[in-house]
């Protein structure tokens, strides 16, 4: 190549390189997964919802302390047992300038509950949303629902006019073989506006200068650039080299190292998700065991022996490097109904466990299959391996099958519940213990107890849950929840292990608000 064209190319490259963005505070962050859709009803998944909630507002939102506070609704009250009334905020505009009114709430409810939306379950008790006037709506429930407001922070309010104009009045319809407009565009009322979206690569949000909350809550950053970096080491390297200000999912193997790095700050808080082990207690004979003709897990002594054989403190310290909160309950701190005095684990005692097993008729232990995911929870496979070793001490031979989550869930979940002994994690989607109780511990009847994989059934507990469901008095309701949680604990219906710890990492100059639901909200970010 002669010198001339080379020089021309170099000049072009240099000029293009000089076009940089104007002075502004840009926050750059990354996660191992993408937000996948800008449609806030696309999937009931923490990261997607938390991402999209930067652009959308709910009626009621959670603050930094996980307490409810006004969002697009300024006030709400249960005016009769089956009606919740919401007063809406005046003067709010969507990003395209359309004013926000009660019609948008009615529309959003319809869109969120229609098939194709994934957000139907939090609104399952709502029969109808009725417009009273432009700034008042009533939620009519199917029987009394004292905790409806707890279900609303994940429900974004969308614009009726915008959705109709762009033919996206239904959340993604996968059968249509075409992309819904809302998948890659947004029109919320929220603190940030979508500026650029290259799915799976880069998403840029900019501050909404007209956001209704700005007066009370100034936003520090002007722009947030989100990148997906799937590879754990690359993500950490980019944070260390200063190309990123924050990483959302911190690889467990790098936590200790990052904590030691001077210009990096580790953020941690107990997560709402509880990790536990479950046992098949419904089949007359276990699917995967050498015990024939009976089901050892039907015997409470066997369940207790398993509990006592497992040294959760060792798991938390050694497997989780201290990034875990050992628990005795199926719900953790931050969940409504959680009771610290109840959260006391029974001691781990292999000798006593062996004695219990002998009393139950298994002096030499037995063999049982053990199902685990290997890419779903923090160190899931390692935890299960530790459990296998601990059970071996009392003569139980657990045959571990650790596999990828899509295979794992297909095996253990409804309709087959094809497992004898398994690991599972649960976050109450409503931030309320009732959700965990009905999903995990209520007798399976086709509607409730769907994730009661082991088929635990206790009429006393079912009666308690029925009472909790309709109790409107908060204090009485809490007392009932405590009774139910204690019952589950003392009956060894599950073997709770721990709450994971949500770990984020930032550069030293970044400050933010971290909550146990792993919701990361850009409006709390400040950069020095």
């Amino acid at each position: 190549m002669s010198a001339k064209p080379l020089r021309v190319i170099l000049i072009i490259v240099a000029v293009l390189g000089m076009i940089t963005s104007a002075e502004s505070k840009t926050f750059r962050w990354a996660n191992d997964g993408d937000a996948n859709s800008m449609d806030p009803y696309a999937r009931e998944e923490t990261f997607l919802l938390s991402f999209d909630m930067n652009m959308y507002d709910p009626l009621i939102r959670l603050n930094q302390k996980m307490q409810l506070e006004p969002g697009l609704a300024t006030h709400w009250a249960q005016i009769n047992p089956t009606t919740w009334r919401f007063d809406l905020r005046h003067g709010v505009k969507f990003h395209d300038g359309t004013p926000f009114t009660a019609d948008d709430v009615v529309f959003s409810f319809e869109r969120a509950t229609h098939p194709g939306s994934n957000l139907g379950s939090p609104l399952a008790t709502v029969k109808e949303v009725r417009k009273i006037d432009d700034y008042t709506v009533d939620f009519i429930t199917d029987g009394p629902d004292p905790i409806l407001p707890l279900n609303l922070p994940t429900i974004a309010i969308m614009s009726k006019k915008w959705c109709e104009e762009h033919n996206t009045t239904r959340a993604a319809d996968l059968t249509k073989n075409e992309e819904s407009y809302a998948t890659r565009h947004e029109n919320g009322t929220g603190p940030f506006i979508l500026k650029e979206r290259v799915p799976d690569v880069k998403t840029v949000l900019v501050k909404n200068p007209d956001w209704w909350g700005l007066k009370k809550e100034p936003i520090d950053i002007d722009e947030a650039v989100f990148t997906r970096i799937a590879d754990a080491s690359t993500r950490v390297a980019a944070l260390l080299s200063g190309e990123l200000d924050m990483i959302y999912t911190v690889p467990p193997q790098d936590m200790v190292r990052l904590a030691r790095t001077p210009h990096i700050k580790i953020w941690k808080v107990p997560e709402l998700r509880t990790i536990f082990l479950g046992m098949d207690q419904s089949r007359p004979e276990l699917l995967e065991s050498d015990v024939k003709g009976k089901n050892p897990f039907k015997d409470k002594r066997v369940r207790q022996a398993f509990y006592e054989a497992i040294d959760e403190n060792a798991i938390a310290a050694k497997v989780m490097d201290g990034y875990a909160h050992p628990t005795a309950l199926i719900v953790g701190p931050g969940v409504n109904g959680y009771d610290p005095p109840l959260d006391k684990r029974f001691p781990s005692d292999p000798a006593a466990a062996r004695k219990l097993l002998a009393e139950a008729g298994y002096p030499h232990g037995f063999e049982v299959g053990f199902d685990c995911p290997n890419d779903r929870y923090v160190n899931d496979q390692e935890i299960c391996q530790a459990v296998v070793a601990m059970l071996a001490r009392i003569g139980i031979k657990a045959d571990l099958l650790a596999q990828t989550r899509s295979k794992f869930f297909a095996k253990i979940n409804a309709p087959h519940y094809d497992t004898s002994f398994y690991m599972l994690g649960w976050t109450p989607g409503t931030y309320d213990a009732l959700n965990a109780l009905t999903a995990l511990a209520e007798t399976r009847n086709g509607k409730e107890g769907e994730f009661n994989v082991g088929g635990y059934s206790n009429p006393k507990l079912d009666a308690l849950i029925a009472q909790i469901r309709v109790e409107l008095d908060q204090e009485k309701r809490d007392a009932l929840i405590h009774q139910a949680l204690k019952l589950v604990r003392d009956d060894f219906a599950y073997l709770p292990l721990h709450q994971q710890v949500v770990v984020w990492a930032t550069r030293n100059n970044v400050s933010l608000a971290q909550t146990g639901d792993n919701f990361f909200q850009l409006r709390y970010v400040t950069m020095k």
Binding site: I12, V13, A14, L16, G17, A30, D34, N36, S37, D39, A42, R43, E44, E45, N118, G120, S121, P122, A172, L174, T175, N177, E178, E179, S180, T183, R184, V198, P199, D200, V201, T227, R228, I229, A230, D231, S233, T234, R235, A237, A238, L240, S241, G242, E243, D375, R405, S406, K407, F409, A410, N413, A414, W426, T427, G429, N435, A439, E450, F451
Partner: protein, 328 residues
């Protein structure tokens, strides 16, 4: 010639159908995508409805026939993960992979061929020994490790080059290129080196052994006897004759580079098709995986065809043999 091309095309269709069948059959074993698409609270009834909507409840043959029919029209369906057409996703991702692959292939050629010639001519020199020894690294270290090492040194420790991504890209129609910006060039250096290292070693060793081989032949001795300069002998006669296998191997390796960019792209978060494939695997996004495998199969078939044709152009003996066969 035309008959040959048509015959190869028919073979290609069979190959592609087989790839599609294998790819599609494999996907019965990657797990249930429904679990990744719905929240933990979703009821069994909703799951069944979704399975039906996606056609996952139909028999394998029906699903496969529908897949092939649509694929022939370039329609690979909707990604489960992103809820948008797979064809569109691939089209967005293709420029990144092709750019990286071509830069890597060029790098491998530009460095590999001269190094091969040098080590072939000066077999005992210290520099040759050094090149051969370092090239062992290129062959023996796995790609992801080389990538991580480069990131550690040049991004984390020295802070010269970015550790991930493509830098600023410029849109030219549907094509995006990072080769027109400084940040784009900076971003491509580490992944291109990572991807090129193995190929470079391969080409260098190939050229070297071919050179050594050719230099021993009679016509080189005769050329020297004729009193030609070293330069004319080495480059005019010897190098030309080593190039036939080099072209073949380089061509075939281009397919391999595109296909194996998967690992490099994952390490550097290079937004190409390989990364898309890995992400689709973790999500059990069957339409994307199937489309990718068929597409890579397609690339290989096309590259093979082009290499076969080039062979005809470069090596006159093949043409003659073929004409004889056709005549006889």
């Amino acid at each position: 010639m035309i008959a040959f091309v048509i015959r190869r095309l028919c073979q290609s269709v069979v190959v592609l159908l087989t790839v599609a069948l294998i790819a599609f059959a494999l996907f019965n074993y990657v797990g249930d995508p429904i679990n990744n698409m719905v929240g933990q609270d979703t009821t069994p009834a909703e799951r069944v409805a979704l399975r039906h909507e996606l056609g996952l409840d139909q028999s394998f043959l029906v699903q496969f026939a529908r897949f092939v029919g649509h694929a022939a029209e370039g329609n690979f369906g909707l990604s489960y993960q992103e809820a948008r057409p797979v064809g569109q996703i691939i089209l967005e991702r293709m420029p990144a992979t092709l750019e990286l692959s071509f830069v890597a292939a060029l790098l491998a050629l530009i460095l590999g061929v001269p190094m091969g010639i040098y080590t072939g001519l000066h077999r005992r020199s210290l520099l040759s020994q050094a090149m051969l020894t370092t090239s062992l690294v290129g062959i023996s270290l796995p790609t992801f490790l080389i990538g991580i090492l480069l990131i550690l040194v040049f991004a984390v420790m020295l802070g010269w080059l970015p550790s991930y991504g493509r830098g600023t890209v410029v849109h030219i129609g549907w094509w995006t290129t990072g080769l027109l910006t400084i940040s784009g060039w900076k971003a491509i250096i580490l992944p291109a080196i990572t991807l090129a290292l193995f190929q470079m070693t391969l080409i260098m060793r190939l050229v070297r052994s071919e050179m050594i081989e050719v230099l021993r032949t009679d016509y080189i001795k005769f050329a020297r006897a004729r009193g030609l300069s070293n330069r004319a002998v080495n480059f005019g006669h010897a190098l030309k004759n080593t190039l036939v296998p080099v072209i073949t191997i380089t061509g075939l390796q281009l397919g391999a580079i595109i296909a194996f960019a998967v690992i490099t792209e994952t390490v550097f978060q290079w937004p190409g098709m390989g990364l898309m494939f890995i992400q689709a695997v973790t999500f059990a996004d069957i339409p994307v995986m199937a489309a990718y495998l068929v597409l890579v199969g397609f690339f290989f078939v096309v590259i093979n065809l082009v290499v076969d044709l080039l062979y005809y152009v470069v090596d006159p003996r093949l043409r003659i043999e073929h004409e004889h066969a056709a005549g006889g």
